[in-house]
């Protein structure tokens, strides 16, 4: 187990270098960001040259990349154009998005698994069909539609929640955006759980447990659910990474100043330190979430062990 973890951690190094280089290259390919800093005016060449020198933009790409990596290993992710260090942006953005992603995950776990269990146990009956139709509807609605719709209904029509989130992003204001962010994944979790439960419901060990005279409730939570959750856990694990990166649309709709907002601004302004820095961290989050999922397997099913 320990060796497995170490191997997985070592594998992260090439992934880290590869992804940063790719992103660096792509942002660079967009062109020179200095021209846009001067608005509708041609940049005054002397000032533009000064800014380029300071941002290390006058060096060839490979040199810029090495310089950038060298800085990163000293904990310096560079400076955004408004003069703020990127690490400062990260410190303000990541907690917000993490909180949003966690709200989404909690919602999708609670609602998704409960719905999945109910419909899985009543396969083919009305409740199952209803859940299937509902999840199909949810999956087919894009986030920006459900986002603006729920925002309008809850925020303006019924005034149950604020349509936008305050800068501090308190948890209660994140419930609505969390729900919007969770919706699509929620449908997948429901369907995964349902299929898995329906499959395992007829398994021998369930019949044995029932025959032993265990209460139905205990059979479901301890025996059936535990075995059925393995594919669901895989999905949720990888979904955490996806939710953090994919929050761009939701964050924009609800004016949440998290990772999505910073990435969007960074791309609009071609601010390579911001974009590369944030994406690098996202890649790491993704890798760690995957590692965590693999480790969780062993907890859920002791038969799965790694050398």
């Amino acid at each position: 187990m320990g060796r497995y973890v170490i191997r997985r951690l070592l594998q992260m190094i090439p992934v880290f270098i590869g992804s940063t280089f790719l992103i660096f290259f792509m942002v660079y390919a967009l062109g020179d960001p200095v021209a846009a800093m001067f608005g509708d005016r041609a940049p005054d060449p002397a000032t533009a040259a000064q800014i380029r020198r300071e941002l290390y933009l006058d060096a060839p790409l490979w040199k810029q990349y090495l310089h950038y990596m060298g800085q990163i290993f000293q904990g310096n992710f560079g400076t955004a154009f408004n003069g703020q260090p990127v690490t400062e942006l990260m410190a303000s953005a990541f907690p917000v998005t993490l909180r949003l992603a966690l709200v989404a995950v909690v919602i999708e776990m609670l609602v998704g698994i409960v719905l999945g269990v109910f419909s899985g146990l009543r396969r083919g009956r009305d409740i199952d069909t209803t859940v299937l139709v509902l999840t199909l509807v949810v999956v087919s609605i894009p986030t920006f539609v459900s986002g603006y719709l729920l925002q309008f209904l809850f925020g303006v029509q019924w005034a149950w929640a604020a349509p936008s989130v305050a800068p501090e992003a308190p948890l209660n204001e994140l419930l609505l955006p969390g729900l919007v962010l969770a919706l699509v994944s929620l449908a997948y979790v429901t369907r995964l759980t349902r299929t898995s439960i329906a499959e395992n419901a007829r398994a021998d060990y369930v019949r044995t447990a029932l025959a032993k005279g265990l209460p139905r409730h205990r059979v479901i939570t301890r025996h059936l659910l535990r075995n059925s959750l393995i594919p669901v856990v895989t999905f949720i694990g990888t979904d955490i990474g996806a939710l953090m990166g994919g929050a761009i649309v939701t964050e924009r709709i609800f004016n949440i100043h998290g990772v999505g907002y910073q990435l969007y601004q960074g791309i609009l302004r071609q601010n390579s330190p911001t974009v590369v820095g944030f994406v690098t961290i996202l890649v790491l989050v993704f890798l760690l979430a995957n590692l965590l999922v693999d480790l969780l397997y062993a907890v859920l099913d002791p038969r799965i062990r790694y050398a």
Partner: protein, 539 residues
């Protein structure tokens, strides 16, 4: 057993809900008397000489007062800190300050506050984006050479006489120069700015009606009324909270929900409903912004002699009336000159100056383009940046109009460029092969600002690289003219050259649009389409 576990599940679900809701709060800081308004994240740190876009500019307008200020209603440049600015030859100016002005940290506003700030703004090594605004002051070439490092640290044209007086020597005659001094780049700076620059950037200190209470970059700037403000236009509200919105749709939704008091940018998609939603609380008034379609004059096919007929023809192929009505819901007015109605007739606005070239006339358009040798390559592409401002809508409408007038389906197509940054790159690298969108928002309400930066040879915003000797000569003459009336008339003569040459097609004058909640009143936009924040009253 069963029941007990059920209760446990239920309890934990409730606990999650409690944690989720209970941890909130904290946003309820006292809002009494304070106006909350939408804002965009400024691109640069908030320094006067480094702020060249509207979002940062509106903050400086609240935090600073300069020698002059543009009247929020008329746009006229009026003395604020300047007692008088005198000149005999339109080149050497003596500035005398009024008594009693201080910064909010107690420092006095003296001649040195201005001279130091201007020297800082002009010096190349400070990388201030507004440095070119100081180019008319003598010695600019020394502190801001085109190449190499600066040969002097201060502008030789500036001299402090005493606490209340300083002199300015310009490197050319420029009679309306004092009227440019209301621009943000010319604001005074306290010594605190130079002593601890980082601290100042974190919490700017100025001499305007507001002080910074707290500034969380990228999300919210809280300003409060400065009770000891010495000027005669103190804030009429307790303060302004500027909240950054990435999406103006969200800001509008927040306004509808009563979560926000003021938006100064109604999203295009909402223009149809805005009157029904807000009634009398919708503002739609002219601003000093003109939208044009500029030609790459460096491209032989567009810049050759005779091509002016094609350019004029294209202008006549555009049905401005219909587009401003259908696409913009009358928040734009068809343009008939190259300035803006906010200048007023005295300031140089002259409707109809463009003549028939700005009127819609399909048959004449077709004929003119034919006489001029036809569209280069048989078609025209209109370049725009697709990331902001919903430019796609009107560019498509423009093409539609041109295609209809010329009777060809493929005569005109839009050419989107992904980001504004890339768009600017292509412009500065002279890589445009067809007309491109060229909006201009005035820096100060002078006819000079609508002509010189845009069409003078090698001027800073002359992206099409238009160059015309008689135009340049007339602009120089107008600048040297001490009589305001004659200066304006000479500028208009220069503008008439634009009408014959058509280096840029005037499309429409843009209005500022905004909306506000019933919590506040006395809301208006100034000629720069920025709300007059200090006048807003909280009901």
């Amino acid at each position: 057993m069963r029941r007990a576990t059920c209760a446990k599940w239920g309890a934990s679900a409730v606990a999650v809900a409690l944690v989720a809701t209970g941890c909130g709060g904290g946003s309820g800081a006292s809002r009494s008397g304070v106006v909350s308004a939408s804002w965009g994240d400024p691109q640069n740190p908030l320094e006067p000489a480094n702020t060249n876009e509207v979002q940062g500019g509106k903050v400086l307008e609240m935090l600073f007062r300069g020698l002059k200020r543009y009247n929020p209603k008329t746009g006229a440049a009026e003395n604020v800190i300047a007692d008088r600015i005198e000149t005999k030859d339109s080149q050497n100016f003596t500035v005398t300050l009024k008594d009693g002005w201080t910064f909010s940290n107690g420092e006095k506003v003296t001649a040195k506050s201005f001279v130091d700030a201007w020297n800082y703004g002009a010096l190349l090594s400070n990388k201030q984006k507004n440095a070119p605004f100081f180019q008319y002051i003598d010695g600019f070439a020394q502190v801001h050479p085109d190449t190499g490092s600066p040969r002097a640290k201060t502008l030789s044209g500036l001299a402090v006489k005493d606490d209340k007086t300083f002199t300015v020597k310009l490197n050319q005659k420029f009679s309306t120069w004092p009227d440019t001094l209301g621009y943000a780049a010319f604001m005074p700076l306290p010594q605190a700015f130079f002593r601890d620059h980082d601290a100042w950037i974190g919490k700017p200190v100025g001499n305007g009606p507001y002080t910074v209470d707290s500034y969380e970059k990228g999300s919210v700037l809280r300003m409060r009324k400065w009770d000891k403000y010495p000027g005669d236009d103190p804030a009429r509200n307790g303060g302004i909270d500027l909240r950054v919105y990435t999406d103006n749709n969200t800001a509008y939704t927040d306004l509808q929900a009563g979560n926000l008091d003021l938006v100064d940018d109604v999203p295009a998609a909402q223009l149809k409903n805005v009157r029904a939603d807000l009634g009398g609380r919708y503002i739609n008034q002219p601003a000093g912004i003109i939208q044009t379609l500029a030609f790459p004059m460096y491209d032989k096919r567009w810049g050759r002699p005779g091509a002016e007929k094609v350019r004029r023809g294209l202008s006549m192929a555009i049905d401005r009336d219909q587009i401003t009505r259908e696409i913009f819901q009358k928040t734009r007015t068809p343009a008939t000159d190259w300035t803006s109605p906010v200048l007023g007739p005295k300031g140089g606005y002259k409707p109809g100056l463009c003549g028939e070239a700005c009127e819609f006339h399909a048959a004449k358009a077709k004929q003119l383009i034919k006489e001029g040798g036809g569209l280069p390559g048989g078609r025209v592409t209109l370049a725009y940046n697709a990331d902001t401002g919903s430019h796609k809508d009107w560019i498509d409408a423009l093409c539609n109009s041109i295609n209809k007038s010329l009777g060809e389906d493929q005569a005109c197509v839009g050419a989107p460029v992904g980001t504004f940054a890339d768009f600017r790159n292509k412009l500065t690298a002279r890589r445009m092969s067809g007309p491109f969108r060229a909006g201009w928002q005035m820096d100060y309400p002078l006819i000079q600002n609508f002509l010189q930066p845009l069409y003078y040879t090698n001027a800073s915003a002359n992206d099409g690289k238009f160059s015309n000797a008689s135009f340049d000569k007339l602009v120089n003459q107008a600048n040297a003219e001490t009589d305001q009336k004659k200066a304006v008339a000479t500028f208009q003569d220069a503008e008439k050259i634009l009408a014959t040459q058509m280096p840029a097609i005037p499309l429409w004058y843009q209005n500022g649009s905004g909306g506000y909640s019933d919590r506040i009143s006395n809301v208006a936009l100034n000629p720069f389409s920025v709300p007059v924040y200090d006048d807003i009253k909280v009901n």
